[in-house]
């Protein structure tokens, strides 16, 4: 095999927020770092994050602190989160946000000049540090501009297809470059996966072409375990019209700033369905909700800011029961709040206000939908957004069960449980990205260089070239589209046993079709070939999602089972699903108990739950 070789102490695969933060930390520890990006640097999916970074800075409401953030995160995840990760995350997030400012980030400000924080779903207090609605861009650009001066070697437009192992330890990776299709062997003492999500397994998604479950699959193939794969977050508000923009995200910030959901009859349906666990925190009427948006500390939050899983299901229900908008979603409008606000504040200019608060939403709808959100309601519906499930890692080091293999960001799992709160992913990737970088560097320092077995790289490269070798076969794009249609229909927001059993059968057929794909042309920048290789990853994570969703015979967080519509805490409230690859190559699954929570953390939750512990923790 003709290839280049690069050697580093630590290789980071993925250059979104988590990968960049991990690379910066590892580099600061004094080891040599290589950063491998699937796209150009600075283009990763983090750029799409809009609303903000959750951190209990307490700049806007001084009652906030890490314990409240921790309790909010656990309640949002319905208590199947890894509590230790949730604790570290809540404790460290403020320091990680302040550090971004030291590296040049310019957040929106409070009147006294500190970092401004906004309201978001499931967060008790205004907690999200933000820059208008383009916080992800600010975060990735800040890390990028800081990182390029830290001696990190950046390898752009290279896709890793296989991790290389020496005697059970990860010692490298095989990648191809998009430009020429040549292979690169990366040799490393430690490898950090920061490859992001799996959204491309579904037809309607806010995710880009890159989000094909690469990190999940690389880890799984190398012998690591995946947990919580049934928990796929469907964001309640994606664009649904015109067809070409279906799935593009409409930030939760719209609701955080006073946006209201209505069905076709103009009814504000969210007031009619508030879960018991959130009733004490939810506004009694429109007036109270709007006062909350304006920062009234006595007021409780509007029902549009319930957790994403719940809001998404309410929207699906409205549409299914014939009360939806013309294109199968519901309406999200800013006018009610603006009128209410305009009555109280002299000289309030709605158009200017929304352009300042939600500039990129205004731009996005104007350019792509031909709609002015300051004057007209938006049509929105759920879109596949975020993967709570992923590589199982140690909560204090981010190392998987495969020695030398670390994971962070969306492709790692644990912190979010059954449902992630908005704003927690940007803080997660900073806090746990840093942790992964720190511990990967420490691990690498303690170890001599290991070899990369030539036969593994050779075999992986040969497999990667197979789609060219077949004289004829199916178009890989068609196989991908059929997979996306099937997952959307059979393993989507509302799930049923018989449909998922059919999906498993369908996956086997799709695997056979993927293995027989043919790619025309040559290896130079050939998207057909790249798609053919991504199929293995998409199929692997789709199987993981389906098997885990079948095993969890209850509805919890992002998982909603039509055949088991209630929570079953007795059987499933204290366990995670774990999938791994057996020696025969097939996927295995088991339920594993969650370790008991220390009393200190239970106290934090009890304090936020009206004095009683939720059933899961009793």
């Amino acid at each position: 095999m003709d290839h280049q070789t690069h050697e580093h102490d630590v290789i980071v695969i993925g250059a979104g927020g988590a990968g960049l933060r991990a690379a910066i930390e590892a580099s600061a520890a004094g080891v040599s770092v290589g950063l491998v990006c699937k796209s150009l640097l600075g283009k990763a999916h983090t750029v799409m994050a809009e609303g903000g970074i959750a951190a209990a800075l307490a700049n806007v409401d001084d009652r906030d602190n890490w314990k409240v953030h921790f309790a909010d995160t656990m309640r949002g995840g319905q208590y199947v989160n890894n509590w230790r990760m949730a604790q570290l995350h809540a404790q460290e997030a403020p320091a990680r946000v302040n550090e971004l400012e030291a590296w040049g980030a310019v957040f929106d400000r409070t009147p006294d000049g500190r970092i401004l924080q906004r309201n978001f779903g499931g967060h008790k207090y205004p907690r999200l540090a933000h820059v208008g609605d383009r916080t992800g861009l600010e975060l990735i650009r800040t890390l990028q501009d800081h990182g390029i001066h830290k001696g990190i070697a950046v390898y752009m437009e290279r896709t890793v297809v296989r991790l290389l192992l020496d005697a059970g330890r990860v010692t490298g990776a095989l990648a191809y470059d998009r430009e020429r299709g040549r292979f690169t062997v990366f040799k490393a003492k430690a490898v950090i996966l920061a490859c992001g999500g799996v959204g491309k397994a579904y037809k309607i998604t806010s995710n880009s072409w890159e989000c094909t479950g690469d990190g999940h699959t690389l880890a799984y193939d190398a012998g690591a375990e995946l947990i919580d794969m049934e928990f796929v977050q469907f964001h309640p508000t994606g664009m649904i019209w015109p067809p070409s923009v279906r799935g593009i995200l409409v930030t939760e910030g719209v609701r955080g700033e006073g946006g209201v959901l209505r069905n076709k009859d103009g009814h504000r349906f969210m007031f009619g369905d508030i879960p018991d666990s959130y009733k004490p925190q939810t506004a009694a009427d429109e007036e109270e909700g709007f006062r909350y948006v304006l920062g009234d500390k006595e007021a409780r939050r509007p029902p549009e800011l319930l957790t994403r899983d719940h809001v998404a299901r309410c929207i699906v229900r409205e549409a299914r029961e014939g009360r939806g908008s013309p294109h199968g979603g519901v309406f999200l409008e800013l006018q009610t709040f603006a009128e209410w606000f305009g009555r109280r504040v002299k000289g309030f200019k709605a158009e200017l206000h929304w352009k300042k608060k939600l500039p990129s939403m205004h731009h996005q709808f104007k350019e792509l939908g031909g709609l002015d959100i300051t004057k007209e309601p938006m049509e929105v519906g759920p879109t596949t957004h975020y993967m709570m499930g992923g590589v199982r890692v140690d909560s204090d080091t981010q190392m998987s069960r495969v020695p030398g293999l670390f994971a962070c960001g969306e492709c790692a799992a644990g912190i979010n449980g059954a449902n992630r709160l908005g704003g927690n992913s940007l803080s997660d990737l900073l806090v746990l990205g840093k942790l992964a970088g720190e511990h990967a560097a420490r691990y690498a320092k303690d170890r001599p260089a290991a070899g990369v077995p030539a036969d593994q790289a050779e075999a992986a490269a040969r497999r990667a070239l197979e789609p060219f070798d077949r004289p004829a076969g199916e178009n890989p794009f068609q196989v991908m589209f059929d997979l996306q249609d099937m997952m959307q229909d059979l393993v989507g927001i509302v799930r049923k046993e018989d449909e998922m059993v059919r999906a498993l059968d369908g996956l086997e057929k799709l695997k056979a079709r993927a293995a027989a794909c043919h790619v025309a042309g040559n290896r130079e920048y050939n998207p057909g070939w790249h798609t053919a290789l991504d199929l293995h990853n998409l199929l692997t994570v789709s199987e993981g999602i389906t098997r885990a969703a079948l095993v969890r015979k209850e509805s919890r967080g992002a998982q909603f089972r039509d055949d088991y519509p209630a929570k079953n805490t007795k059987e499933f409230g204290r366990v995670n699903t774990v999938v791994w690859r057996g020696p025969d190559g097939s996927m295995h699954i088991r339920l594993e108990p969650i370790p008991p929570m220390p009393d200190e953390l239970k106290d934090a939750i009890r304090a936020e739950a009206g004095g009683t512990l939720p059933e899961e923790l009793r």
Partner: protein
């Protein structure tokens, strides 16, 4: 469904040609949708960069009917469809394949610019205070999505190939962002004049016109930087004072 012809550049650094493809045109469709449709059904090896498809990542830069555009933000319904829609790669950078160009020069340029260096924190807890008005000024520049369309349209780079001497509008915006950053203490003015070639810019404002983020590149970033260079290096009164001070010293 209506169809339209897309005349797309196919080729490598060595050779290439325009080829015509027919695509179905649906409501709200953008040029990138057409490219994807052609890729999925007729030309799976058609190379193009893209990521977010929402104008936020700046990957799908190309030239549509001769104008530098993000393909994901160019609605097909805004183009005349009685003639072929011409889609070609950016011209200011070396071609790689089809619609993909080698933009690595941009990444090298950024590395040469002195990084952000903040003043000492304002508060004992290590944080700073800044007013929203001061933040606003640089937030405009920090909106940049690095699509490099401003670099593509700039005649200093596109026609005169001054890549070695001139950093281009994108990085003048980057320098402006650093120089006007409320917390930054660095001084990049001498570098602007000597290494970054700010004098090459003759304010034709083409960059401002193509910016998909509507950053007023020329007026808000480049002209104020030019003024700083003039103040520091060409002000006759300052020159005299410096001369006197130097004699005394």
């Amino acid at each position: 469904m209506a169809t339209a012809t897309f005349r797309i550049w196919r080729g490598t650094a060595e050779k290439g040609e325009f080829r015509d493809y027919t695509a179905e045109v649906g409501e709200g469709m953008v040029v990138l949708d057409a490219v994807h449709q052609i890729q999925a059904t007729q030309a799976p090896d058609l190379a193009c960069r893209w990521n977010c498809k929402a104008g936020k990542c700046g990957s799908c830069s190309a030239e549509v009917n001769g104008k530098p555009r993000l393909m994901c933000m160019t609605r097909v319904s805004d183009l005349p469809l009685d003639v072929p829609v011409i889609v070609e790669p950016m011209q200011a950078f070396p071609p790689v394949k089809d619609l993909v160009t080698d933009v690595s020069w941009n990444y090298e340029v950024k590395k040469r610019i002195a990084p952000f260096s903040p003043r000492k924190p304002d508060a004992p807890d290590g944080t700073w205070r800044m007013a929203q008005e001061d933040a606003d000024r640089v937030q405009e520049f920090r909106k940049c999505i690095e699509c490099f369309l401003c670099q593509d349209v700039c005649h200093v780079l596109r026609d005169h190939h001054k890549h070695a001497a001139f950093i281009g509008p994108r990085f003048l915006v980057h320098v402006a962002q650093l120089e006007m950053h409320p917390l930054d203490t660095g001084d990049r003015v001498a570098a602007l004049k000597n290494d970054n070639g700010i004098g090459y810019c003759n304010i034709t404002k083409c960059c401002t016109k193509v910016c998909p983020e509507h950053i007023t590149i020329t007026d808000n970033a480049i002209i104020p930087l030019k003024e700083r260079v003039v103040d520091d290096h060409y002000d006759p009164v300052l020159k005299l004072i410096r001369l006197v001070l130097r004699r005394r010293g």
